[in-house]
């Protein structure tokens, strides 16, 4: 067994809650798992809203410190990252896609800045042209082009466009781990498929591992290798994706699966909508 790409052991994060004199509450409670122990993989994290998924992602990215527990990337303890060089090395390999695309870009800055900067630092683009080319290539993977993005400010883009820009930015440097926090929540089904396919391709062809946080069980089912289901900061169930989602064990997982809306309501289920509590 090769060493895992990413390893989390007993990770806890607590926040002090509620104004001046609040108690502290655990947003992430004793979470352990590994990513990429057996080659590149896509790990889906699904679960309740507010269950600590984003917090977990942030701890992996090192932007939030774990209250306790250990996070190791390629056998390197993230708590020991000190200088800029170490950080840069880390970021070359691990890239995020943040949950809210409207927040992920500075409204006062043009979007291409982020792309070009990423290209320069992590895709070894030496010249402006090279950086532009790298950015354009990444944007094309998500159905955009540099021409469309260049010179635009975030508020000039639709939510889906922003989300795609965020994805493209993360891809520029060919990282070995992507932490994607609901990367396709604002994208239409067709594009979503394209992006999810892209993730799959990244894994299969480039050996990128992906942590895929989502509420969309369907895409999680279709691309992920393993799945982690969280509720109130705790991992309630984890395992091989299809097996777990086909036959969930934990009551919450079962409830979750049951709640998934299927598009295939017609023609069979249609009258159900007439009932007072259809869903």
């Amino acid at each position: 067994m090769t060493a895992a790409l990413l390893e989390l052991r007993n990770v806890v994060r607590s926040y002090s809650k509620g104004g001046l004199f609040g108690r502290s509450a655990r947003a992430v409670d004793d979470v352990s798992f590994e990513v990429g122990a057996n080659g590149p993989e896509i790990l889906a994290i699904i679960g309740e809203s507010g269950s600590g998924k984003t917090t977990l992602a942030r701890m992996i990215l090192g932007t939030v410190r774990a209250t306790s527990g250990l996070i190791r990337f390629k056998d390197f303890d993230l708590a020991r990252v000190r200088n800029r060089k170490q950080r840069m090395d880390f970021m070359r390999q691990v890239q995020p896609i943040f949950q809210n695309p409207f927040e992920a870009f500075n409204p006062l800055t043009r979007l291409d800045r982020y792309l070009l900067s990423t290209a320069r630092h992590f895709a070894d683009a030496r010249t402006d042209e090279a950086a532009a080319a790298a950015s354009d290539a990444a944007l094309r993977k998500v159905g955009l082009s540099l021409a469309e993005v260049k010179g635009r400010f975030p508020h000039e883009m639709s939510g889906g466009q922003l989300q795609r820009v965020a994805i493209a930015r993360a891809l520029i440097g060919s990282p070995s781990l992507l932490v994607a926090d609901e990367p396709v929540s604002m994208v239409d089904a067709s594009l979503r498929t394209a992006i999810v396919d892209l993730f799959r391709k990244l894994r299969d062809e480039l050996g990128v591992s992906i942590i895929y946080i989502t509420h969309d069980l369907a895409t999680a089912y279709s691309i992920s290798d393993r799945v982690v289901i969280m509720r109130r900061g705790v991992v309630v169930e984890a395992g091989e994706a299809r097996a777990t989602l086909d036959h969930p064990q934990h009551p919450y997982s079962i409830e979750l699966k049951a709640a998934v809306l299927s598009p295939d309501v017609f023609p069979v289920v249609a009258p159900e909508l007439a009932s007072p509590d259809p869903l």
Partner: protein
């Protein structure tokens, strides 16, 4: 939804065009995010709006909700509301008249609604600001009503005392929905209100929406990318592509017999849990709305494209009762009238 009402529509949109106009440094650029759209929403009806990302759904919705801020400009067309028998043309009315109908008759949930709550005030104050004046009840009763309403979106009364930043994205989104529905307006316009919700909560919230709508015979325009949500919630569905409506009909008809090639593709590409068949994404890139393709805007990506598609704009015409499509492959003779140039 099976009962197509003969009553007057709650909102009637005709030949609406709204462009993002930027005159930045001498160069004018028009992004034609809404181009010649006409639709009607009947009382007691949920009208779903689907379409590719960045096709102009949010813009359309903003235009209907009167949320016009520069650089967005309405270039032509009308939005006429009909609340309680009184007609009102949105773009001919005074701001005061508009303020008077907001939230009482018309409410709006904007996209990215996590950021719409005032960060330095407790949540309850937002409810007071938006809704109190429309609900003619004393404060304690009003708060009780709000608490009750929050229960419907699975939120406890304690969130009223919280500051927005203390709540997760999903909680804030539910608050935005609760805020928009608490006054039980006649028309609710909602732009991707459930994107940040987990499926369980989403189901609950949709249930609530449906319930409110049934109870009050409210109408609703609902934008989401989740076709499953459309399938469960909407009476009628409109599909947009590149700033235009390209197909509209009863939800069931659209799901069962999509006619426009884009809709066909959209329905076909829905992911299903348990299915492992690889889904094919649409070839090509979404059109650039600042410089859309001539003719039918879908033609560069259309498997059925013909010569005429590159020249003429297909009319958005009825092909079956209550079912309209804009496609030459479906309706070879219907050519759209050219839009009149705005004054």
């Amino acid at each position: 939804m099976t009962t197509v009402s003969q009553a007057r529509p709650v909102v009637e949109v005709s030949r609406l065009r709204a462009y993002y106009q930027t005159h930045q440094f001498g160069v004018q650029r028009d992004v034609r995010a809404v181009d010649d759209v006409s639709l009607k929403v009947m009382p007691n009806e949920i009208y779903g709006l689907a379409g590719e990302s960045s096709c102009g759904k949010s813009t359309l919705i903003k235009t209907i909700a009167g949320a016009i801020r520069p650089p967005l400009k309405v270039q032509g067309g009308h939005v006429v509301f009909n609340f309680g028998g009184r007609e009102m043309d949105l773009y001919q009315s005074t701001p005061e008249a508009l303020d008077a109908i907001r939230w009482k008759h018309l409410s709006y949930v904007m996209q990215g609604s996590m950021g719409v709550l005032n960060p330095v005030r407790r949540v309850k104050h937002s409810f007071v600001d938006f809704a109190y004046r429309h609900i003619h009840k004393p404060m304690p009763e009003f708060m009780a009503l709000v608490r009750h309403h929050l229960g419907r979106v699975h939120l406890g009364p304690e969130v009223l005392e919280a500051f927005p930043h203390e709540l997760s994205g999903g909680m804030r989104q539910r608050l935005a929905i609760a805020l928009a529905t608490v006054c039980k307006p006649e028309l609710i316009i909602a732009d991707e209100p459930t994107t940040a919700l987990d499926v369980i909560v989403q189901k609950g919230v949709l249930g609530m929406i449906r319930e409110v709508q049934r109870e009050l015979k409210t109408s609703m325009i609902f934008v989401t990318h989740d076709m499953a949500v459309h399938a469960h919630l909407c009476d009628r569905l409109g599909v947009m592509y590149a700033g235009r409506l390209i197909e509209e009909g009863a939800t069931r008809d659209i799901f069962n017999h999509p006619r426009h090639p884009y809709t066909t593709h959209l329905i076909a590409s829905l992911p299903r849990i348990g299915s492992t068949v690889a889904i094919k994404a649409l070839e090509g890139a979404p059109p650039n709305l600042a410089d859309p393709p001539k003719g039918c805007r879908f033609h560069p990506r259309c498997p059925l494209a013909m010569d005429i598609c590159q020249q003429q704009v297909p009319a958005f015409a009825e092909v079956a009762p209550g079912h309209r499509v804009a496609c030459f492959a479906v309706n070879p003779v219907a050519v759209a009238e050219p839009v009149e140039v705005a004054a």
